[in-house]
């Protein structure tokens, strides 16, 4: 099972589910990470964490462990 944390730079993928183990999962959904959405890893910080994704026409920075609960199809 691939997650958004494993995406390469500039790689696009579609979300299949959000893992509800991470306490932040609701906020991730509310900010726009929902199944069916195409996301792209646009940037990563100097320390490879946080990561910036393009989702629904905007850029969202999230921590690596948060990206790890975004499951890709």
């Amino acid at each position: 099972m691939r997650t958004a944390a494993e995406l390469k730079h500039g790689e696009k993928a579609r979300i299949s589910d959000i893992n509800s183990d991470n306490p932040s999962y609701k906020r991730l959904i509310e900010i726009g990470f929902t199944p069916g959405q195409e996301i792209e890893l646009v940037n990563s910080s100097v320390f490879n964490d946080p990561l910036a994704f393009s989702v629904r026409g905007t850029l969202i920075a999230i921590r690596r462990n948060e990206a790890d609960c975004i499951i890709l199809s």
Binding site: Y25, K26, E30, V42, N43, V46, P50, R56, G57, L59
Partner: protein
């Protein structure tokens, strides 16, 4: 009282996600007389005002903090959401104006949908339609209005067009209100699960697909071609982020150079605060010195004259002298934030800061702390995680604020040999570097024990929208800086003033008209001699002598002790207090004559020189750590909602300062440096 008013005058609350143009809209609608309201016992703050007179609608307008959803993610968000449903002071809003970025419709409609589902009376305002138009698209507002079953207006935040149309809709909404049919919204989002969130989004997606349509141009073929060139994928036309932003981010968030740019931008910003503010600070300082001098000349050498000139006027001056710096800090921070860069800065620094229990969002407050701890603590509100926010507030006093600068300048000048002036600059720079390193060490220690110090368990998270880069709106930034500065004066001003008066009292009483031998002295000398005699026999001196046993291990005597106590009003008071005690009379060049006085002063207990390399270095160490600022304590109490944290800060930082000063002085003695 407020309840009656609320009953008569309808209440409109502005609600919207961050970056949805809510603040801009509030600025368009609000009159001049807005004030801030706190939810009791918390830091969640609202702006409230009447609508501008020209709109001719009498309502109370309430601006709430930006939220993404009605399902709160932090204690502060919870307060925001609960008081939206029923504000303790204003009650239930008669109308909720929800803002949404038209180019972000599928994300921003979540909140609007939740508001409607709760049973609020909602008016939806779409902003940034120009961004959508660039993509050749527009929102069919009639259709959206029908589908959502609420009024929809479009407002352009840059030009203000659409405001009149919005006001008409507000007016219509308010007029149709019946006193008996006050909305009674029901809260039902706390238990929202994943599936229902997913289906809510699905619903919104279908909605947006139905209302976003190409702009109709008479020549349909040409239009279609243009749209196709702009958006080869017509099914998801709004799904691409701003291209310029992505290109700029490749540079500014670059793996190797990103951090370099970051430090460059921050250093420029930080240093410019100092040099831009300096002339204005001198101006304020000179003005109040002049005022104090004039009033004491007018009123003569009496106690009330001293109260007015030394207590009241100088006290007011010590509040206002930092105003230029605070204004410029807010201005530069506001500009940086408006360009969209600050969010990137927080992203880059998140990883290292999370290692010591902080958050990327702690960065801006900590940076502000180098100017003044008070606005810095207010800036910590953006951190949603309570534990991280409290920890950030906790360490802000360790950031070397500008009030310490005059003290460092004096002490460094004492240490610098006259033939090596360059050494002074290096010394000053190393004080800053040392204070940064030591605050990192302190915060990691505090973080280890934070369960004892800071009682709040929260999920640590960093989810931050990186807004598209844009040219900042100077007018809005200036207005916000003005509001923030005003805020500072209102909050900190009375406390600093009261404390200055208290210090004046302690250093003036009880021997207010001392008997001195005036033979052969001119009037100026008499006043100066009276001043120092008065101080030597004052309550403050009594206090100083009382704490003498504490000062002795540091190789210092009560006179430094008194100056340290006086510095609690504001740190730079240390310098003027030393000048007072060591009878420095030459007003023209206070620093060089004070330096001479310091070089010749002897410890009243031992007869040895009082100011030596070791005691001066000890004093620098003391100032780096000690929390000697009553206003900081007061703001910390307000921002953390209790006495626990400010008292812990006072205790920990001041005792650390004392201990480290003791170690420094005695270590230096041991290796033969006096």
């Amino acid at each position: 009282m407020t309840l009656d008013v609320a009953k008569q005058i309808p209440l409109i609350t502005l609600v919207g996600p961050p970056n949805s143009g809510k603040t801009t809209l509030f600025n368009y609608l609000s009159g001049k007389n807005f004030k801030t309201v706190n939810y009791p016992g918390s830091t969640v703050e609202y702006y409230t005002c009447k609508m501008q007179d020209k709109f001719n609608i009498e309502v109370n307008l309430l601006d709430s903090p930006g939220i993404i959803s009605l399902n709160p993610n932090s204690p502060d968000e919870e307060v925001t959401v609960t008081s939206l449903y029923n504000h303790p002071e204003f009650g239930v809003p008669d109308l909720v104006i929800a803002t949404a970025d038209a180019s972000q419709l599928s994300r921003h409609l979540l909140l609007t949908k939740q508001l409607l589902d709760s049973g609020f009376n909602v008016l939806l305002v779409l902003t940034m339609k120009d961004l959508l138009e660039k993509k050749g698209l527009r929102v069919n507002t009639d259709k959206l209005s029908k589908l959502l079953r609420c009024d929809v207006a479009i407002v352009n935040g840059r030009t203000g067009s659409g405001i009149d149309e919005l006001v008409k809709k507000i007016d219509k909404n308010i007029k149709s209100l019946k006193p008996t049919s006050k909305p009674s919204p029901i809260y039902k989002f706390k238990a929202t699960d994943k599936t229902s969130l997913f289906s809510l989004f699905e619903e919104i997606e279908n909605l947006t697909k139905a209302v976003i349509e190409p702009i109709e141009i008479p020549d349909l073929d040409r239009a279609n071609k243009e749209i196709k060139i702009l958006n080869p994928v017509l099914e998801e036309p709004t799904m691409q982020p701003d291209l310029f932003t992505i290109k700029l981010d490749r540079v500014l968030l670059h793996k190797r150079y990103g951090l370099l740019f970051f430090f460059l931008i921050m250093t420029t910003m930080f240093t410019s605060i100092f040099w831009l503010a300096d002339p204005f600070m001198t101006l304020v300082d000179d003005f109040f010195s002049y005022l104090a001098q004039t009033s004491s000349q007018l009123l003569g050498n009496t106690w009330y004259s001293h109260l007015i000139s030394d207590g009241l006027i100088s006290g007011t001056g010590s509040v206002l002298v930092f105003l230029p710096q605070i204004l410029i800090l807010f201005l530069i921070l506001g500009l940086l934030e408006d360009t969209g860069y600050l969010a990137r800065g927080a992203m880059m620094i998140d990883k290292p800061l999370s290692k010591i229990g902080l958050n990327g969002k702690s960065f801006v407050p900590m940076l502000s702390g180098f100017a003044c701890a008070i606005p810095a603590m207010l800036a910590a509100r953006t951190i949603s995680n309570r534990r991280e926010r409290l920890l950030t507030i906790f360490i802000i006093p360790l950031m070397s604020c500008s009030a310490r600068l005059p003290v460092y300048v004096l002490l460094v000048a004492f240490l610098t040999p006259s033939d090596k002036p360059w050494l002074g600059g290096i010394l000053l720079a190393s004080i800053y570097v040392f204070s940064i390193i030591s605050s990192i060490i302190v915060v990691s220690i505090i973080n280890k024990f934070s369960k004892t110090f800071i009682k709040a368990e929260d999920n640590s998270s960093f989810i931050l929208e990186l807004p598209a880069y844009r040219i900042p709106k100077l007018k809005v930034v200036i207005k916000n800086s003005y509001i923030n500065a005003l805020h500072y004066i209102k909050k900190a001003g009375p406390i600093i003033l009261l404390l200055s008066l208290m210090i004046w009292f302690l250093t003036y009483m009880p021997n207010h008209s001392p008997n001195i031998d005036t033979a052969g002295l001119n009037e100026e000398e008499i006043i100066q001699l009276e001043k120092s005699e008065r101080l030597a026999t004052s309550y403050a001196a009594g206090l100083g002598k009382f704490i003498q046993p504490i000062m002795t291990p540091l190789g210092m005597d009560w006179r430094i002790g008194v100056s340290l106590i006086a510095a609690f009003a504001a740190r730079e008071v240390f310098v003027s207090s030393l000048a007072l005690i060591f009878r420095v009379t030459d007003d023209q060049n206070i620093q060089s004559s004070l330096l001479t006085a310091m070089q010749t002063a002897t410890n009243q207990n031992t007869g040895e020189p009082l100011f030596t390399t070791s005691t001066v270095i000890g004093l620098i160490v003391f100032f780096i750590f000690a929390l000697q600022c009553i206003s900081t304590i007061a703001v910390s109490r307000k921002e953390t909602g209790g006495w626990r944290i400010p008292l812990l800060q006072l205790l920990i930082f001041t005792s650390t300062a004392y201990l480290l000063t003791f170690i420094t002085v005695n270590l230096l003695h041991m290796i033969g440096i006096n």
